[in-house]
């Protein structure tokens, strides 16, 4: 095989050059890369022919070609609304956050000591949401508004065991004033849990049997109702009430919390996040403090570090799926951290007065339009509104025609027309809107601007009087200079791929190339409303078509749904498709899903959400699925077997030889095989889910296909399915997508987070068939090189009979835990790596007391060597503790990470030197990263939950020094 040609994208994406590759092969002890692959992947599943993908494009060529495709999108002025509103991303945020790898390349902040920047920003997000909704606490973002509403429903379901006993039918009430896509997502989540949705006018819905109610404020029409009466009625009947709401509207409106809501959900998109044809955006869920431990997703909290200083961390991590598995209360894992950070920065930049001014301006545009259209004889039917008018009495057909000519999209509902205004609306826009109506009626109209103080078109009880965003952070950074410095001050506290390699096993932290990222903020892609007419989105349609086709080729499957917004959502979508398939065949009893004990925790959580019963199957001492146990359990449940969920290569980092037989056993017993695509980076071009015998898989586009992790989201988890499952791919209530017998929507937007699909599209187009396949080969090369270099220092837990690992491997740290009173554990190693400038690998997954390392193809030999040198040096530090030459408690490992403040302090009492603490190897001096806090006290944070920005003085006293 040839080395990557210099200057091609492949040569930029793949780390090792030809010379490095050959050195690495020698270290491993194989003659060629092909020989290594032959020793790694079982022959029975190898791809017979190269992938049939278009030729690789150069970076410049790709961007030129994409410009052409972008020009096939027509960006009309959108007044469609429905939860998506155009907005202005302040340039200082666009440049320094959205388009900045220091913000978009980090991982979820599990290693809190080197993630204090984005943790602070996410805490700002929680404070924004908490304040504006009037609730006690907020989570650190969810995938979209529909999902957030569904999570509120299932949270109430768990909190109401009397009214909604698990496994029995229960009732959830939904106002018909909710967005149609929200209701559809509720449908897909309610049905498998035996929750019956009753949709209608909330005043006439029967409450006696229900456990919860969802309202929307302002509602789907844009109308605003005063909610205390209905909420009181619901509470009296024993229901919990969730309210879907709009953060910008809440700067002017009485908050749902003040009206008694138990949870508030919504989308924060219009806080500076582009429309992106549906996403990614950060949704939110705010609730009562007493519900916090039932709340879905991640929550940022405050704790203290080893020196007693305040430090931020992800709170309540144990609720996550890797611990709770089938008892998990939600499968939410990937969130929308990057977008939540943009929304938080938008609030920091504008402050409460700025936000209110934006909201008032939006409202004034609506008021002016209402007056002008009233003068033309049209009727506006919303009694109270914030940004959305409902116009009746117009000739809809004529308006539609005139609007089309003027490049304007309204929302058309029967005989009425919806007009939603936003931050970008100008006086010229308003004039154009009025002209469209006037023209359709054959007259003329002009906007008349009211003089005098601002007045909200709503009864006074609906007007907001309570303060919000009183914390100093929302009052301190309103000039661009200050804002830029605030963003940078946070950024410097975090390790992303712009600092060093992040070898997180099962996360595939590969290059997120600039050429892949640049187009997502091109207006032709970023300013498209998700419900814009299809003829305006021809560019997007072409990208989706080509991407779906490529993903079909790569997986060997027949059809793809681009809708799921995360791997876990993909799992849920795939299982729901399997469920629909069994039901359509009259196979009503199939509700058992087999899951190997090594599976990722989201697997059992997703299965529970899909109403399936989880049966765990054993793994053998080599970490492989134990065939005997699998066969016995398949046999035992043969009439009820719905599916097997299996990760391939396994979560243990090995290509199991028996995979085809495993799939055959499941098929022979009437089940379907769901392949978790988390480890697809070891498959692309060399084997495929279809080749191993699976029926459906999801693809984590944020792992294998180069979407950045965003510091904890966004992500995308499209599913690919075999032909017989294609009819069940998810649909959408507003835009036609999915199969003939589509299951309801999984995401609020028809193509999920559409704009970031461009990243994966660019990845595939610029690498081509040979490039994506070489990416896989080099990922396997890099992993096996690491294994060879660390041989003799750490033991690899699992490898195949040739001694080869796939694209990742697990190193055992358990021997150090009880060796000679040393008690060094995986946390000590993880934190010590920070002193060397590295982010820890995945710790304690999938095996407690271990670390899992995945280098990816994008890291060069030089970086891999630095990482290995650090791990080998740490192994020496462990040995010193074990041998008694270093103190058992006061050593470099237990005290890691070391901050600059600590190392430069006048007093230094440790038995090792400052240099040993901070500059343990020569290379560290060249690129020193200083953790901003010492080791964080996790139990303290979980026992003393603080999940919003408190005034400095408020908690200074409560923290023991």
């Amino acid at each position: 095989m040839n080395a990557p040609t210099p200057g091609t994208f492949q040569s930029r994406h793949i780390g090792p050059d030809a010379a490095e590759r050959d050195e690495m092969l020698r270290a491993i002890g194989v003659p060629t890369l092909d020989a290594l692959i032959d020793q790694t992947i079982p022959p029975g599943i190898r791809a017979g022919a190269p992938l049939d993908l278009p030729e690789a494009d150069s970076e410049a060529g790709y961007l030129r070609r994409l410009r052409g495709i972008a020009s096939n999108n027509t960006v009309a002025r959108s007044y469609i609304g429905m939860g998506y509103y155009d907005c202005i991303t302040p340039s200082v945020i666009l440049r320094n956050v959205f388009e900045n790898p220091a913000w978009y390349t980090p991982y979820t902040p599990y290693q809190a000591e080197i993630a204090q920047g984005r943790l602070e920003s996410l805490l700002n997000f929680q404070t924004v949401v908490k304040d504006l909704t009037g609730m006690d606490i907020s989570t650190a973002s969810l995938l979209d508004e529909g999902t957030a509403a569904a999570e509120a429903m299932t949270m109430f379901h768990r909190l109401q065991p009397k009214k909604a006993p698990a496994g029995q039918e229960s009732v959830f009430l939904v106002s018909d004033g909710c967005f149609p896509q929200t209701i559809d997502v509720l449908r897909s989540r309610a049905e498998p849990l035996d929750i019956r949705l009753e949709i209608g006018d909330p005043d006439s819905l029967p409450m006696d049997k229900a456990f919860g109610l969802l309202l929307q404020y302002p509602d789907d029409r844009g109308d605003i109702s005063y909610l205390p009466a209905i909420i009181e009625k619901a509470h009296a009947a024993g229901l919990f009430v969730a309210v879907a709401s709009d953060l910008l509207a809440l700067t002017l409106l009485k908050s749902p919390g003040e009206m008694g809501a138990d949870a508030v959900v919504g989308n924060s998109q219009r806080f500076g996040v582009p429309l992106g044809y549906g996403g990614p955006h950060a949704a939110y869920l705010a609730t009562r403090e007493s519900f916090v431990r039932q709340a879905p997703g991640r929550i940022i909290g405050i704790s203290v570090d080893a020196r007693g200083d305040q430090a931020f961390r992800m709170a309540l991590q144990t609720r996550e799926q890797h611990i709770r598995r089938e008892k998990a209360t939600s499968n939410i894992c990937t969130a929308q951290a990057l977008l939540a950070n943009i929304a938080a920065m938008y609030a920091v930049f504008h402050g409460p007065d700025g936000l209110r001014a934006i909201a008032e301006r939006v409202h004034n545009m609506a008021r002016v339009t209402e007056h002008a259209l009233g003068a033309l004889g049209f009727t506006q039917t919303n009694a109270a509104y914030f940004d959305t008018l409902r116009i009746s009495g117009a000739d809809v057909k004529a308006v539609r025609k005139a609007a089309g000519k003027a490049g304007i999209n309204f929302r058309y509902v029967g005989t009425e027309i919806g007009i939603s205004f936003d931050e970008t609306t100008t006086i010229e826009d308003v004039t154009a809107v009025i002209n469209v109506f006037a023209g359709a009626a054959g007259t003329h109209g002009t906007p008349v601007f009211r003089q005098g103080p601002f007045e909200l078109k709503a009864p006074s009880v609906l007007r907001r009087t309570s303060p919000y965003l009183t914390h100093p952070v929302f009052h301190s950074h309103h000039s661009e200079t200050k804002m830029m410095r605030y963003i940078k001050s946070l950024e410097r506290k975090d390790v992303g791929l712009d600092t060093s390699m992040i070898a997180l096993g099962s996360c595939t932290m590969k290059l997120n190339a600039a050429s892949e990222m640049i187009p997502i903020t091109w207006p032709e892609f970023s300013s498209m409303h998700p419900f814009a007419p299809a003829d305006q989105a021809k560019g997007y349609a072409q990208v989706f078509r080509e991407l779906e086709d490529a993903l079909c080729k790569i997986t060997g499957f027949a059809a793809v749904s681009l809708q799921p917004n995360s791997g876990a959502q993909g799992e849920f979508a795939g299982l729901m498709a399997i469920r629909a398939y069994h039901l359509a065949r009259g196979d009503k009893a199939r509700n058992v899903v087999l899951i190997p004990s090594s599976a990722h925790g989201t697997n059992p959580a997703s299965a529970s959400m899909a109403g399936l019963k989880v049966v765990v199957t054993a793994c053998d001492s080599n970490g492989n699925v134990e065939l005997g146990d699998l066969r016995a359990k398949a046999e035992q449940h043969r009439d009820r077997l719905a599916a097997l969920m299996v990760t391939y290569p396994s979560t243990h980092g090995v290509f199991e030889e028996d995979i085809k037989e495993i799939c055959t056993i499941i098929h022979d017993h009437g089940g379907q095989v769901y392949m978790d695509g988390a480890n697809m980076n070891a498959q692309v071009g060399l084997t495929s889910p279809a080749a191993i015998g699976a029926d459906v898989c999801h693809l984590n586009l944020h792992k294998t296909f180069a979407i950045p992790h965003g510091g904890g989201g966004p992500g995308m988890g499209p599913i690919a399915v075999a032909k017989h499952l294609a009819p069940y791919l998810p649909g959408h209530p507003v835009v036609t997508v999915g199969g003939r017998k589509a299951i309801p929507a999984i995401s609020a937007a028809p193509w999920g987070s559409a704009s970031i699909l461009l990243i994966s599209y660019g990845y595939i187009r610029m690498l081509g068939a040979a490039g994506v396949t070489d990416a896989t080969r080099y990922a396997i090369l890099n992993a096996n090189y690491l294994k060879a270099r660390l041989h003799g220092h750490y033991d690899v837990l699992y490898s195949n009979h040739n001694g080869r690992v796939a694209h990742e491997m697990i190193f055992d740290l358990r021997p150090f835990k009880h060796a000679g009173g040393a008690s060094i554990d995986e946390q000590d190693v993880a934190k010590r790596l920070m002193d060397y400038g590295f982010h820890a690998p995945t710790v304690s997954f999938p095996v407690a007391g271990t670390m899992m390392i995945e280098p990816t193809e994008s890291e060069s030999k030089a970086e891999l060597d630095r990482f290995c040198d650090a791990l080998i040096a740490i192994r020496g530090e462990i040995q010193a503790v074990m041998d008694g030459t270093a103190d058992v408690k006061d050593n470099v490992l237990k005290n890691a990470p070391h901050t600059a403040e600590e190392v430069t302090a006048d007093s230094w009492t440790h038995p090792y030197s400052r240099e040993q603490a901070a500059y343990p190897l020569p290379f560290v001096k060249a690129n020193k990263f200083w953790p901003s806090v010492s080791r964080i006290d996790n139990p303290y944070g979980d026992r003393n939950l603080i999940c919003a920005c408190p005034p400095i003085e408020a908690y200074a006293d409560s923290i023991p020094k």
Binding site: R293, L316, Q317, T318, R319, I323, N938, D942, R943
Partner: protein
């Protein structure tokens, strides 16, 4: 060595028999397995459980586990103070009780382990 005045279950709960009542907590072995306890979810007074039913959950920084009722009966007392100091499960496991159950099926008591049998189980 485990206190001899307590009885034990295979699920690592301890039981202090007080007349008709059973006071319930988790053992030293259990707290060591869990690590730092940060939160407990306990039932309300008046709830009834069969032996082996889940009566609550215990959350540590490492795991969330379920708590199993060692006996059949009605909850007559709940240690509400535990919410303020969950760490006492770690520091004094055999003195930190969670609930008191009024036993309705005294035969359940016969199935409990004594200190020696439980010690053997955890070896």
């Amino acid at each position: 060595m485990y206190p001899t005045d307590l009885k034990y279950t295979k699920d690592h709960e301890w039981v202090r028999v007080e007349g008709d009542n059973a006071r319930v907590g988790i053992t030293d072995y259990a707290q060591k397995q869990l690590g730092d306890v940060v939160y407990l979810e306990l039932p309300e007074v008046g709830r009834t459980f069969n032996a082996g039913d889940v009566f609550g959950t215990i959350e540590s920084v490492k795991a969330v586990s379920e708590l199993y009722s060692p006996v059949t009966g009605e909850v007559v007392e709940v240690n509400s103070g535990i919410a303020q100091r969950p760490e006492s499960v770690n520091t004094a496991p055999h003195d930190t009780w969670m609930i008191v159950i009024k036993v309705t099926n005294p035969a359940d008591m016969n199935g409990l382990l004594d200190s020696t049998a439980y010690s053997d189980l955890t070896k």
